[in-house]
């Protein structure tokens, strides 16, 4: 096996007692003090996670918008400047290759560029998919040129999540964060000497179910900016959070995770992601299949599940209605907020109604469970715009 990749924050993580694990080919902190503690700190205050393992793909040039519109399931051309949109990449059968965030920005010369954030585990697959569609002929088409760059190793990315995220980050950037809308972003100047006048991209996005931001900065200044955030964060009780808490946070928020809820064998409608598919307009790989799938009778559906007992249903556990297998669990954990085991899984549509009583085979014992609405946790919406 090849040696896991390291983010620019690797040394910091190790020096601060993180337990490092191999995650999607990267050495990442699973936790520092404890998953539950980090989870609760994020819900109550603010937490920061190094997410530099996420793939960042940059598209620019006059043909970039159309190229992306012909690659992603969701429209790109009608995005406003500084808008971020959740989208999917599907194969020709309509199976999900990845779920991504596409952001639309302009560089200092006023030229548009797009940043597509992909899952670490899928980066190579998506890069190959891009290259398969962005032939030299396509990339060089006069007046429709597309420049594609995998900038993953050039940029670090941090997720700063929690109700105090605005307060924490405001002194660090030259835009008014309070008025930044959800799924909007901006190119900012980092107002700290350690940033050496460099800029970054910040967006009001996240994977925790809390208010918060994702901040990208150059890999070289990343450790210094990370430290600057900790200086600002100390009075606010900022804690570093690992991928363990990232998983429990997203699960409570009912957000799907690739290789759990999403795969090439799952189509967007089953996953509850029909909203991310615009089937009229640009033709993208999988569009015809999706138009067809849209007309098909319902298939196994993604649901939220709560268990009556204390044992945790994990990925792969069989779900039964009485004696009959009707689905399987794709993610499960202990919810630190609800203080009980929760899970997501796919079940036969006849069993997908909220309130349906199920059994889950956990290591040979059938544990009672029921279908509950997603998300498991929803933050109280403040007056954020």
């Amino acid at each position: 096996m090849t040696k896991p990749l390291r983010t620019p924050l690797y040394d910091w993580h190790v020096a601060h007692g993180a337990q490092m694990v191999d995650f999607a080919g990267w050495s990442m902190p699973v936790k520092y003090t404890g998953i539950i503690e980090e989870h609760q700190a994020t819900r109550a205050g603010v937490g920061i996670a190094d997410i530099s393992h996420m793939g960042r793909l940059r598209f620019e040039g006059p043909g970039a918008a159309v190229f992306l519109a012909e690659l992603l399931t969701r429209r790109v051309g009608d995005m406003e400047l500084n808008q971020v949109r959740y989208s999917l990449v599907t194969n020709y059968e309509g199976g999900i290759l990845d779920d991504v965030l596409a952001g639309y920005y302009r560089n200092e010369y006023g030229q548009p560029f797009y940043v597509v954030v992909v899952n670490a585990a899928n980066r190579q697959k998506v890069v190959d998919w891009v290259h398969a569609h962005l032939t030299p002929e396509r990339a060089g088409r006069p007046q429709h040129e597309v420049i594609f760059t995998d900038v993953t190793h050039l940029w670090a990315m941090f997720a700063i999540q929690g109700p105090r995220a605005v307060e924490l980050l405001q002194p660090l950037v030259d835009v008014d964060l309070k008025w930044m809308r959800y799924y909007r972003g901006a190119q900012v100047r980092i107002l700290h000497p350690s940033a050496r006048r460099q800029g970054g991209i910040i967006s009001r996005t996240g994977y925790s179910g809390e208010d918060g931001f994702e901040l990208s900065v150059g890999a070289e200044i990343a450790p210094a900016v990370w430290k600057a955030i900790f200086e600002l964060g100390e009075p606010l009780g900022l804690v570093p959070t690992g991928i363990g808490a990232r998983d429990t946070l997203r699960l409570e928020a009912g957000m799907p995770l690739y290789s759990h809820e999403l795969s090439e064998q799952i189509d967007p409608f089953q996953a509850g992601l029909g909203f991310a598919c615009h089937l009229v307009g640009y033709d993208f790989p999988g569009r015809d299949a999706l138009l067809d799938l849209q007309q098909q009778p319902p298939r196994a559906t993604r649901v939220g599940i709560e268990l009556a007992g204390r044992r945790i249903a994990r990925q792969g556990c069989l779900i039964l209605a009485g004696e009959e297998p009707i689905g399987h669990v794709t993610s499960g954990t202990f919810s630190p907020t609800l203080q009980k085991p929760i899970a997501m899984g796919y079940v036969d549509p006849s069993c997908a109604q909220v309130g349906t009583q199920l059994l889950i085979d956990i290591r040979g014992r059938h544990e009672p469970a029921q279908v509950v609405p997603l998300p498991f946790y929803q933050r109280k919406k403040g007056k954020s715009p």
């Binding site: 404890g34 945790i312 994990r314 085991p341």
Partner: protein
């Protein structure tokens, strides 16, 4: 209980059998507990259950994963730590004392001699920490 005076299974359970006694106390080592952080649930066997060395007698669940608890010896469960079921943090606070798991009536006290002593267990822990 002093860790130095206990015997250990390779699967990280400790056992203490007072000389001349038939009933041993079994727990989980500090090393194992620390590796398992974020514990949320424990399942212990019923009193009276026969257990076999190397076979699961219960499980402990953390946010990330579930782990089996193995019996270090053949015998019969005579008591389980009910206090632990209700406050799992005892396991982290005092793994060699109040965080004990079960008491086992040991079928053959001599079987303890086949388990690791403290020095041998420390060596195993050091090797596992290397990984």
């Amino acid at each position: 209980m002093k860790p130095e005076e206990l015997r250990y299974a390779k699967t990280h359970e400790w056992i203490h059998l007072p000389p001349g006694d038939q009933v041993a106390v079994v727990g989980l080592s500090k090393f194992a507990v620390e590796a398992l952080t974020d514990l949320v649930h424990i399942e212990l066997p019923e009193v009276g259950r026969e257990v076999t060395a190397g076979e699961p007698l219960g499980e402990v669940e953390s946010v990330k994963a579930v782990s089996d608890l193995y019996s270090p010896v053949d015998g019969r469960i005579v008591e389980v730590n009910e206090a632990l079921v209700n406050s799992l943090d005892l396991l982290g606070k005092d793994p060699f004392g109040d965080g004990w798991l079960v008491k086992i009536e040991v079928a053959a006290p001599s079987a303890l001699d086949t388990l690791l002593d403290y020095a041998a267990y420390q060596k195993q822990v050091a090797e596992e920490s290397e990984e």
